[in-house]
């Protein structure tokens, strides 16, 4: 391990300890912890804890983006982490979901968001199958190249197709329907009830009723309801991910990742399962893209889906710990959050973001929250290394006697 690594390692051990401690708990305790964590995250944009809150930019908006990235990373984790397929064009699916929503609700139709959402997911899933069916026959590096191309093809196509708004993009994508009485600005804010947020004066919190959230008004003024919506989607996807992973399907994915030929010879229809992973990942990407399109701004254009975004998605999964759903969420959240947090550094914020990712890669190459298998393999390797060093020391001690 490098020197930087050993400098940070107590922190890493602490994280592993927390993770192990959680795993040892009784299921009921686990469920309680999860509910509390979920409540905390639902409340986060209202609690606005100091240090975490971004003061330069609307915190609710940042949290929406954080959740959107976490959702994308969760989907990509199925493809990269479980099935071992390196997909470098994931932004293509994100864009497909966003554009399907845009077309149905604004450009060529006026569907309500919640009707367009399942269609967007289905369209993206079909796109995943169409892309996957021919390309999943190639492996490793080749798959990475093909998917890389796919991400760009989508962006360039959209830029040149007038029907999809070309480079002007699609604007006025409607927000999801408000639940409760509609808002009638400037007199009635709408919603069922309002929730005040906290404002911190140093370390002293007080209620801020000026900026309360109206439940559940999706509009341009406040991003927090969107955040709650996408967080709910994240929780549902997380539950589904857990059910599917802890089954024959999850084992088939892992076996395929580990040794495709051996898996095939053990009766696993590997192509079918790879395609399934690809389609599921695509669907989740489309889901997130759909939320993005109908988010606060209600505007998408080809420039919203650069190749860089694909790289960030992959970085999120790797930094978080490929193969662990919690790791992917943490990675996605971090990758979205850090650039916003560093906004006060203005022009240097991307530099700081890059440095932070580099430090992470050196400090924990296996990711923030690696899957159990990675940690166990690492522990075993360390054990063997220690044994070998021990033998070497013994030999060195014996040597002077021989002379």
């Amino acid at each position: 391990m490098s020197r930087v690594g050993s400098y940070f390692s107590p922190l890493g051990q602490a994280m592993d300890a927390v993770s192990d401690g959680y795993k040892r708990q009784h299921p009921a305790v686990k469920a309680l912890i999860l509910v509390l964590v979920a409540l905390f995250f639902y409340g986060l944009p209202l609690l606005r804890p100091p240090l975490i809150t971004t003061n330069e930019i609307d915190f609710g908006g940042v949290m929406f983006q954080v959740a959107a990235f976490a959702l994308v990373a969760l989907g990509l984790n199925i493809v990269i982490g479980y099935a071992g397929l390196l997909d470098l064009g994931y932004v293509g699916f994100y864009a497909t979901g966003a554009y399907t929503t845009g077309v149905l609700t604004s450009q060529h139709g006026s569907w309500p968001f919640f009707l367009a959402l399942p269609v967007a997911i289905a369209v993206t899933m079909v796109t995943g199958v169409i892309l996957g069916a021919p390309t999943l026959r190639v492996r490793g590096d080749y798959l990475a190249i093909v998917t890389l191309g796919f991400g760009e093809i989508i962006r360039i196509c959209v830029k040149n197709i007038e029907w999809l708004g070309a480079s002007a993009g699609i604007k006025d994508i409607p927000h999801p329907n408000t639940i409760g009485p509609a808002a009638e600005p400037p007199f009635k804010p709408g919603g069922l009830f309002e929730i005040p947020r906290l404002e911190w004066d140093g370390l002293v919190p007080h209620l801020d009723k000026e900026h309360s959230v109206h439940f559940l008004v999706f509009g341009a003024t406040n991003a927090i309801p969107y955040y709650w919506l996408i967080l709910t989607a994240l929780v549902l996807v997380l539950l589904g991910d857990r059910l599917v992973k802890n089954s024959r399907v999850g084992r088939a994915w892992e076996a395929t990742r580990e040794d495709e030929d051996a898996a095939e010879l053990m009766g696993v229809p590997t192509f079918k399962f790879k395609l399934m992973a690809f389609a599921l990942g695509a669907a989740i990407g489309g889901l997130s893209g759909s939320f993005y399109a109908s988010g606060q701004g209600g505007y998408i254009s080809p420039d919203s889906f650069p190749l860089l975004l694909s790289m960030l998605f992959v970085a999120a999964v790797i930094v978080g710990g490929s193969g662990n759903r919690w790791g992917a969420i943490a990675g996605g959240a971090l990758v979205a959050y850090l650039p916003e947090r560093f906004r006060e550094f203005a022009d240097f914020r991307l530099l700081f973001f890059g440095l932070a990712l580099t430090v992470l890669a050196v400090w924990r190459p296996e990711g923030l929250l690696p899957p159990r298998r990675t940690r166990r393999a690492k522990a075993a390797a360390a054990e063997i290394e220690a044994l070998e060093e021990g033998e070497l020391d013994e030999q060195l001690e014996e040597e002077p006697r021989n002379v």
Binding site: G240, L243, V244, S247, R248, V249, G250, R251, A252, E254, A255, E258, D259, D261, A262, A263, E264, L265, M266, G267, V268, P269, T270, M276, L280, R373, T374, R376, A377, A380
Partner: protein, 268 residues
């Protein structure tokens, strides 16, 4: 020498027929018109010097290679056009000469991949936790534990496969292959790298496997092991079958002796 043999050749039914199989890689003929059958309930040894085409023969049977001419039939079904996982589902399972476990999965999970071979559980079953999912999962788990117990590594079921000792990894490969519930189990040099004590244990295990109702095809180098455990032996050399028969016959066959020990130019 096979003093213990419930197998009776006269009433045997052919389970696998290798029918005039030829396999060429460019100018190299790896298998040249090879024919033999494996009968239900026997332990057939496939032996030959290095490079004789034993593993290639396995690969043709399990669908890794497609024969240039001829075909392999399993239970009367031609294997030539079947996908690899379909061949496994028909009831033909194998282990690998160079161990190929799913390294970062646990021992139990490795075997469960095998026991899932006939599972129809898909995405929706898993997501909705259907009765079918619960039923197959429970059956899979029980069978996997049973197999680990049989090969003697049950205590290490929660270990990562890569952390097992070499011998235990070989045992795990056998358990994983048996998990697919095969009629024919093909073992590719299961004793490679074993010491004599481990080989004896392995022989016991192979007999136990046969007694549990499996037919076994065994590729092996170690003559003592092959002679001690098989009912019949097929000998390959340079891709051709040079002999076939009971262990005692094979041991005295001049062609086999020549293949293994070389031929004195003057004598021949």
């Amino acid at each position: 020498m096979s003093e213990y043999s419930p197998y009776d050749a006269s009433s045997a039914k052919a389970l696998l027929e290798v029918d005039h199989v030829t396999l060429r890689f460019g100018g190299l003929t790896a298998l040249d018109d090879v024919s033999f059958t494996i009968n239900e309930g026997e332990i057939l040894g496939l032996i030959g010097p290095n490079g004789a085409g034993k593993t290639t023969c396995f690969n043709v049977m399990t669908g890794v290679y497609r024969p240039t001419s001829g075909e392999a039939r399993f239970d009367g079904t031609s294997l030539t056009k079947l996908k690899k996982h379909k061949i496994t589902q028909l009831g033909l399972a194998r282990t690998f000469q160079n161990i190929r476990l799913f390294k970062s999965m646990t021992v139990l999970e490795n075997v469960m991949v095998g026991t899932d071979a006939h599972s129809k559980v898909g995405f929706w079953d898993a997501l909705l936790r259907t009765p079918r999912h619960r039923r197959t999962e429970a059956a899979s788990l029980a069978r996997a534990k049973e197999l680990l117990d049989m090969v003697g590594i049950k205590a290490r079921h929660d270990e990562l496969a890569s952390n097992l000792s070499y011998g235990d990894q070989r045992r795990l490969e056998i358990a994983r292959a048996m998990g697919t519930n095969p009629k024919l189990l093909c073992l590719d040099e299961p004793a490679a790298g074993f010491n004599p004590a481990e080989k004896v244990k392995l022989m016991e295990l192979i007999r136990k496997v046969r007694d549990a109702g499996y037919t076994v095809l065994l590729i092996e180098h170690d003559m003592r092991l092959v002679m001690g455990v098989t009912d019949r032996i097929v000998v390959l050399e340079f891709g051709q079958k040079i002999a076939e028969g009971a262990p005692a016959e094979i041991r005295d066959n001049p062609a086999v002796i020549a293949a293994y020990l070389g031929v004195d130019e003057d004598a021949s």
